[in-house]
């Protein structure tokens, strides 16, 4: 009895440990590729550059932001963003510049416009359709028992026939 309890405690400890590791991995900040020498002296501006970098796609690796990518082009773009911030440009101006050179795809958060309506509203529309379908299903199921008639004489005879086993 005691041994069993102890095993249970161990098992619990072990799963707790696994949970802690999983939590630590999940919460760990993604490694930033920004090099120390790139950083701006002004922490506020550096913060802006960092946030902007998170929103710009690295076109070489494509699923990473330039803040996380080690690609050459990503580094060039990080430096360019910092230069533009130093020159007093706003975040929007910098994003507009990159968009004019590389297209919408460079923005990790695509702009809302007719071409991207499907992207932005598609999932909501599909969810709404699905919810409607489920609603109709349950509505009809609730209605059916009331509409169900008793077995006809013929059906009752056949049912008896089947239940009797020939």
């Amino acid at each position: 009895m005691i041994r069993r309890a102890r095993t249970a405690v161990w098992a619990m400890r072990r799963s707790l440990g696994a949970f802690a590791i999983a939590l630590a991995v999940a919460l760990a900040a993604p490694a930033a590729a920004v090099q120390p020498e790139e950083k701006l002296a002004d922490p506020q501006k550096e913060q802006r550059a960092q946030e902007l970098g998170e929103e710009i796609r690295c076109l070489v690796c494509q699923s990473e932001s330039i803040a996380n990518s080690n690609a050459d082009l990503a580094k060039d773009l990080r430096v360019l963003i910092r230069e533009k911030i130093q020159a007093g440009q706003s975040n929007q101006e910098i994003k507009d510049f990159l968009q004019s050179r590389y297209g919408d795809y460079v923005l990790l958060r695509p702009p809302v416009k007719p071409e991207t309506y499907v992207l932005w509203y598609g999932p909501a529309a599909i969810t709404a359709l699905g919810a409607l379908g489920v609603g109709v299903f349950f509505w009809r199921r609730n209605k059916r028992p009331a509409a169900q008639q008793k077995l006809s004489a013929d059906e009752q005879r056949r049912l008896n026939h089947i239940l009797d086993g020939e």
Binding site: V60, Q62, L73, L77, R101, Y102, G103, D154
Partner: protein, 201 residues
């Protein structure tokens, strides 16, 4: 009673209108499957390369840049003004000595320049002059002008994200087409050559 009569008897119990509606409903998953399968087939079988990013500069003027020549080469440097003044369409090829596909496409550029008489300009992207010189000395020089873009800034102006890239530039300095990656015979024969012919008049 045969089994066929059995099913008929059961089916006949419902009214035929909702029966038909149900049949359509049963077909719905098949229809959805066919649509999804169609998309997958398109993704797998078409030539579309999802990693290729369309240029944002098509039908726009060449952005501003002014690049010095590669030190030690005969070709003069390249600036936006050179592309604006041209009265014939030109090719603008972004290349680097460290770029392996650039070597692969180089014979095509040589042939375009020497045999077809097309003006080809080059941007030497993030390269050292010594390496660029060696590349040109070994493989030949198809370029009328070569701008040295050591910082890669002109590349960013043009939206370059992977060398080689080749632009077809119309007579008034308008970018008409961009090819990312090495020029292959398909891109050459189906896109670049017809476009050059059309623009050249």
């Amino acid at each position: 009673m045969t089994s066929e009569q059995d099913t008929q008897a059961v089916g006949g119990g419902e009214d035929s209108g909702s029966h038909w509606g149900k049949r359509v409903l049963f077909l719905l998953p098949v229809v959805i499957f066919l649509i999804v399968a169609g998309y997958f087939a398109w993704g797998l079988l078409s030539d579309r390369d999802p990693s290729r990013v369309p240029s944002a500069l098509i039908d726009q003027k060449v952005p501003q840049f002014d690049l010095p020549p590669v030190a030690g080469l005969d070709s003069p440097g390249l600036s936006t003004a050179d592309l604006m003044q041209a009265d014939q369409p030109v090719l603008l090829n972004v290349w680097a000595s460290w770029c392996v596909p650039c070597r692969a496409e180089h014979p095509i550029l040589m042939r375009l320049a020497e045999r077809d008489g097309v003006t080809v300009h080059g941007i030497n992207y993030k390269d050292t002059p010594a390496d660029a010189r060696r590349f040109i000395q070994n493989l030949g020089n198809p370029y009328t002008r070569i701008g040295a873009d050591r910082s890669g800034r002109a590349g960013i102006q043009l939206g370059v994200y992977g060398v080689p890239e080749t632009y077809v530039i119309g007579p008034s300095g308008k970018i008409r087409y961009k090819h990312t990656g090495p020029i292959d015979s398909k891109a050459l024969n189906q896109k670049i050559l017809p476009l050059l012919e059309k623009l050249g008049g």
